[in-house]
């Protein structure tokens, strides 16, 4: 009976998700096999042949693999380190580090990349000049326009994704597992590597895979830092395919996108295979759980200082560069002249611009309403993925990744080809649906990781006591899922607030978003206004993150 109901729920969700994510992808698939430039045309394989027989494609593929794997690894390791210190130890300033860990998610990626170019370009990067003066070097020690520079910046930008997936899992860790390890004589490090990390495998893998998929689709960093250094990856290869000529052949771009899609779907199945025995990762069962705080003792202050320096250099410094750029009249290296010519002109321009203000309103609507609806849908989808675990749930998981796996510049066109056939075209609802459909994995990943840790005994006990399915979800599951829900909501909300790929294609006068305004300033080369708007976006996002955390803490069940 229960199985039958679960199957019904699964199929209903598959229908909803298929409607949301399959439509643009189907358009792109048709476009990739069609002659001509629009969705429908005579069947052809020419686009695939042209892409996959291009000798430069395979060099690009090599660069892409290096870029993607190392960026995702960097984000995941960093997130693990931060999540461990923040959730499991007595390090001071936890709340501050928690917010700092998700700050890169709030910065428009193009701005973050430009800030790093100002800091570490080999000609006159601020940090390079400083190091050259201090150590009397003849050449700049760092070149941000390199694959290493790209990996560092992309890794930092994707840090919040990994952090927001790993942190809730770390927060729900059962003390008894680690205590058992210690009883058998293992130290802190051995317990960490033999118990803590293996139990967290689903969350770590989920974080790594999501980062891989995001890096594959990333465009800002490869464009701003890769192109000047002549390092091309798939996203910039697609851009080159699309922009050479006056008519963009998006069908050909979709043909390139198919390899990314296949890679992403394969990764999901690898993930499902590696976490197939989900009961191994349960840390919250009917026995109750109490996360333990590890005493750092003498390492407490040095680790705090290291984290502080890390946060300052890697995350806060680029934001300070943005703040500085918003006050100087044009792009200037810091100097007496630059500081004396600072003014508020860019801020006044932005704050007096009616389009910027209306785009702020639209973005806030899309971010709050979209993230809330997306989170609600993610709860049900995650439940089916983790608890039902049949072939249909595998389909559901793959569907949730469909739109997400495509590079932004391509999926935006897929949505345009789809929405133009509906009455929703050029309305804010098209943006809302497109956002949810594309970024659903941001809601689903943290929640599946959190779901995996909850033993089914808890739900069964509730059912035995006479509670309905919905009551069980509301009274038992959701309170235990709060860290995952908060993470999912934050990921979606901050993403929606700065979303560009879909917005630039689907927004029209009256439905402009903040990111579209940012792009407009960027096209005009108005970096000062762009930075001012970027700072406003970061400020609002920080407020949203703090509010979400406070709301989450309010509803979190007592664990002691």
């Amino acid at each position: 009976m229960v199985k039958n109901r679960q199957s019904k729920l699964t199929y209903l969700l598959i229908v909803i998700l298929a409607l949301l994510t399959l439509s643009p992808v189907v358009m792109l698939v048709i476009g990739s096999f069609s002659k001509g430039l629009n969705t429908f045309g005579d069947f052809t394989l020419a686009k695939y042949i042209s892409v996959y027989t291009d000798p430069s494609f395979y060099a690009v593929l090599g660069n892409t693999l290096i870029f993607v794997l190392f960026s995702a690894l960097f984000s995941t390791i960093l997130a693990l380190f931060l999540a461990y210190l923040n959730n499991r130890t007595n390090i001071p300033g936890k709340f501050m580090f928690k917010v700092i860990s998700v700050v890169p998610m709030m910065i428009p990626h193009v701005l973050f990349a430009v800030s790093w170019a100002l800091l570490l370009n080999p000609s006159n990067g601020i940090l390079n000049l400083l190091l050259m003066n201090i150590f009397r070097l003849e050449n700049a020690p760092f070149n941000i326009y390199s694959i290493r520079g790209m990996i560092m910046v992309e890794g930092l930008l994707d840090l919040p994704i990994a952090y927001l997936i790993i942190a809730p899992a770390m927060a729900s860790f059962d003390i008894s597992l680690e205590e058992s390890s210690r009883v058998f004589g293992a130290g802190n490090m051995k317990t960490l590597f033999r118990i803590t990390l293996p139990v967290l495998r689903p969350a770590i893998l989920a974080a790594f895979i999501l980062c891989v998929v995001r890096c594959l689709a990333s465009f800002a960093v490869p464009s701003v830092l890769g192109m000047p250094g002549r390092t091309y990856v798939l996203a910039t290869y697609i851009y080159r395919t699309v922009t050479t000529g006056f008519i963009a052949d998006y069908g050909k771009a979709a043909a390139v996108g198919m390899s990314i899609l296949i890679l992403s779907i394969s990764l999901i199945y690898v993930y499902r295979y590696m976490t197939r025995s989900s009961e191994k990762y349960v840390t919250v069962s009917s026995r109750g759980f109490k996360p333990v705080v590890i005493e750092l003792k003498k390492a407490r202050i040095p680790l705090f200082v290291i984290l502080l320096i890390f946060s300052f250099i890697l995350i806060m410094l680029p934001i300070l560069v943005l703040l500085y750029t918003s006050f100087v009249p044009y792009s200037m290296v810091p100097s007496v002249k630059a500081f004396t010519s600072m003014n508020l002109d860019h801020w006044k321009n932005v704050l007096n611009d009616p389009v910027s203000l209306s785009s702020l309103k639209n973005s806030l609507f899309l971010c709050i309403v979209g993230a809330s609806l997306g989170t609600l849908l993610s709860i049900f989808i995650s439940y089916v993925i983790v608890k039902v675990k049949n072939k249909a749930s595998g389909i559901l998981e793959s569907l949730s990744f469909l739109s997400f796996s495509f590079p932004g510049i391509v999926i935006g066109i897929g949505f345009m080809w789809f929405f133009v056939r509906t009455p929703l075209y050029a309305t804010i609802w098209a943006l809302l649906i497109g956002y949810i459909a594309t970024y659903l994995p941001y809601g689903i990943r943290p929640m599946t990781s959190a779901f995996i840790q909850i033993h089914s005994h808890l739900e069964e006990s509730s059912t035995v006591c006479g509670a309905s399915f919905l009551t069980t979800i509301r009274r038992i599951v959701i309170p235990l899922l709060i860290p995952g829900i908060v993470s999912g909501w934050i990921l979606m909300a901050t993403m929606f607030f700065r979303e560009l790929s879909l917005s630039v294609v689907l927004s029209r006068p009256g439905t402009e978003t903040m990111a579209v305004q940012i792009l407009k300033f960027s096209n005009d080369g108005l970096w000062g206004r762009l930075s001012a708007l970027g700072i406003i976006m970061i400020g609002i996002s920080v407020l949203l993150v703090i509010t979400a955390n406070l709301v989450g803490n309010h509803f979190k069940p007592e664990t002691n």
Partner: protein
């Protein structure tokens, strides 16, 4: 479980119905608006940036609201054709580089229109049905006035190949940026260097100086202003839009080249009267003066120049439209030369 499925079903239906109702509401309102909006509003799709002063002046002078959707050149034809073929093109007026406008004309997007205002322009600007050329996306060598000494400023394009500019140049990617490809080919076709061999020498010399490549012209001025690079192949209009940045253009002996910018009314314009009013306004001396003075654009209205030192004396030539096949071919060629 049944209750859950019902709840999900209700929420989804609510969302879909809400969206449909909203859209239907918008559609219902459209015919009412159409009769009024003919005089109240005009929708423009444009690739040119920073045109807000003209839109504001148009609204002030005519009372018609001008709404602009900015589309990048690479997205322009795809977006307009997708909307047009689905019967959803909202644009009354479209503005894009001439080759894009010609493609749209082939698909029947542009209507034939006689513009009285365009009669003061040179004849070659208005020989294409409803397409009117009004400006040239002119390209020049832009340098940092604080870091480049007057004696070092290039006097010819070939000066960019001198070793002193090694690692000091920024330009849009010659492998895929259509305007840069057209410009480089334009230098050859207009025989700017005297022979094809000299043109090739220029290219190889420029490549040897290891220029930094960016996606388009938009990001070219920032590294020059900040001193990261000293000179770039960019657009003089940034001297106006980025003032007081220390930028100037190298007044070379050779002509300046650029792609023509054009404008036209769509065949399915929802607001045809307002569209005509806008076209006439756009092509008027007043609007073109605004475009030149506030945006730094090179316009084709006789006697109107942007307030940039020496531009009024420069010879500015429109370059030939390259087909997409030619752009691909030359892009691949430049990829080899510049080792992209």
């Amino acid at each position: 479980m049944k209750k859950t499925i019902r709840v999900i079903g209700i929420v989804t239906s609510f969302l879909i119905m809400g969206s449909m109702l909203f859209a239907a509401g918008a559609q219902e309102k459209a015919p009412q608006k159409e009769s009024k909006v003919m005089e109240e509003k005009v929708a423009l799709y444009a690739s040119i940036t920073a045109i807000e002063p003209i839109l504001a002046a148009f609204q002030k002078d005519t009372g018609i609201l001008a709404e602009n959707t900015r589309l990048s050149t690479s997205n322009f034809a795809t977006t307009v054709l997708t909307e047009f073929q689905a019967g959803k093109l909202a644009a009354d007026v479209v503005q894009a580089p001439l080759p894009v406008m010609e493609i749209l004309k082939q698909y029947g997007v542009i209507k034939d229109y006689f513009s009285p205002a365009a009669q003061s322009y040179a004849e070659w600007t208005r020989n294409n049905g409803g397409i009117y050329q009004f400006g040239i996306e002119y390209v020049a060598l832009i340098y940092n006035t604080e870091l480049v000494k007057a004696a070092d400023v290039p006097k010819r394009y070939e000066d960019l190949t001198l070793p002193k500019w090694k690692n000091k140049i920024v330009m849009a990617n010659p492998g895929n940026h259509a305007t840069t490809i057209s410009w480089l080919v334009g230098l050859k076709e207009n025989n700017v260097f005297g022979s094809d061999a000299k043109w090739m020498e220029f290219l190889t010399g420029l490549a040897a100086n290891n220029p930094m490549f960016v996606a388009s012209f938009g990001p070219t001025p920032a590294p020059i202003e900040s001193g990261e690079k000293l000179i770039g192949i960019s657009m003089p209009k940034y001297i106006i839009t980025k003032a007081p940045a220390p930028l100037a253009w190298a007044q070379v002996e050779q002509p300046l080249l650029g792609s023509p910018r054009a404008i036209g009314i769509t065949a399915s314009a929802p607001h045809p009267n307002a569209a005509e009013a806008f076209m006439e306004y756009w092509l008027s001396d007043k609007a073109m003066s605004l475009l030149a003075n506030d945006v730094g654009e090179y316009v084709l209205t006789p006697g109107v120049f942007p307030p940039i030192d020496g531009i009024d004396k420069a010879k500015v030539i429109p370059i030939r439209d390259l087909s997409d096949e030619e752009l691909l071919k030359w892009g691949a060629e430049f990829e080899k030369i510049f080792k992209l």
